[in-house]
Symmetry: C2
């Protein structure tokens, strides 16, 4: 590690301030009775495609869901998700490689100003910037952290990025419809997940076929266990 | 952006120091006559699988290649690559989400101490930590930056992570053997690349079939143009 002690001290200060803002967010979400999930994965794991499918399913189940979606640039994902009719806001982070709690606060405020009542929501998904490292350290006030892994990424990703997977409450496998085409070894992936995140539920999903979308929605609406 | 000005100033200092170390590395690589490529992509794009294939092809072509491979944890990738017989070292970055020039310096020193003469190498590949944001700012003394994008990640990734693609000399598409299975729209991907990185060569590859591996090796051994 080449980072100087002074930088480390300052980073610690940034994280402590983030944690305070996140704690206030968590109180606010709890008071409104909305379940909040922070979705973290590599770029290209298919978070947005899965969310599109999840939002449609949520509407069919009369579950009221909203999304804040982070990207370095473009509002492509917000436009895709808003087509489902759910309240959606894009958080453009410019060069920042993760969401922070104050960004979530200001975009939740904007969602409310646009006419969404937090008390009327069942579920708020925070789709983080695609990155398996940096988002790990930033609490966004979520009740549940979801780590996603596509079948195309390699079964040993949880071992290579253990901090994120260890911090997750739920692990979601995506794109399982093409598992055979990419020789995905599910047992190896589940073994890697269990090694760094023992006891976490693993949900296999496909945004294309809809597999696992109902199970995932059910999980997202349940509070996670206090510990593993 | 919630980062404080003080942090920004300190980050600038870290980057300036990195640039100085990188400049010294570049002089050293140039004096040894070794082409150095910095490979950057999401986790799971298939850098290591493509490198395995490239190293075998390089040996067949009597091109002498070595690799430094970065990961947050595990030496899985170094073990995979070392099986090809090429000189390989793993850089474990712990919680750090990118390689920095001083890590490259110390591992190049270790490669030399292990008996690899830089003067005898034609090619050194620096496989960065899987991340589309943070590695962008860190010069590693490379002559060529390679941004890789798999057909499974979504054609608009270059638009969402423009800084990395704009900083690349070459863009490599990976896993093209499964392009049809994932409905990959190559024209859309090339249009997104051209929008943020006009004029860059795009090489379509498959680690499975070997498609494009020869073309990529040829490109890696050529110095990139001075500007685009």
């Amino acid at each position: 590690m080449s980072t100087t002690p002074r930088i480390v001290d300052l980073r610690r200060g940034v994280l402590e301030k983030n944690d305070q803002i996140a704690a206030a967010l968590r109180d606010r979400f709890c008071a409104a009775g909305v379940q909040v999930a922070n979705w973290v994965s590599s770029p290209g794991t298919g978070k947005t495609a899965l969310l599109e499918r999840l939002l449609v399913h949520a509407q069919e189940q009369r579950v009221r869901a909203a999304v804040l979606v982070g990207d370095c640039a473009t509002d492509n994902d917000a436009r895709r998700l808003a087509a489902t009719g759910a309240p959606v806001r894009q958080i453009e982070t410019a060069s920042m490689c993760h969401l922070e709690a104050d960004m979530v606060t200001s975009h939740v405020d904007a969602l409310v100003a646009d006419g969404t009542d937090l008390d009327d929501l069942d579920l708020l998904v925070l789709e983080n910037v695609g990155n398996l490292v940096c988002p790990t350290s930033y609490d966004l006030g979520e009740g549940m952290r979801v780590a996603l892994l596509s079948v195309t990424e390699g079964e040993d990703k949880p071992l290579k990025y253990p901090a994120l997977f260890a911090s997750a409450d739920v692990v979601v496998l995506t794109k399982v419809d093409i598992a055979d085409a990419v020789d995905f070894d599910r047992a190896a992936a589940e073994s890697a997940i269990a090694a760094v995140a023992p006891g976490r539920p693993v949900v296999a999903t496909s945004a294309r076929t809809g597999e696992g979308v109902g199970a995932l929605l059910t999980l997202l609406l349940m509070p996670p266990p206090a510990e593993y």
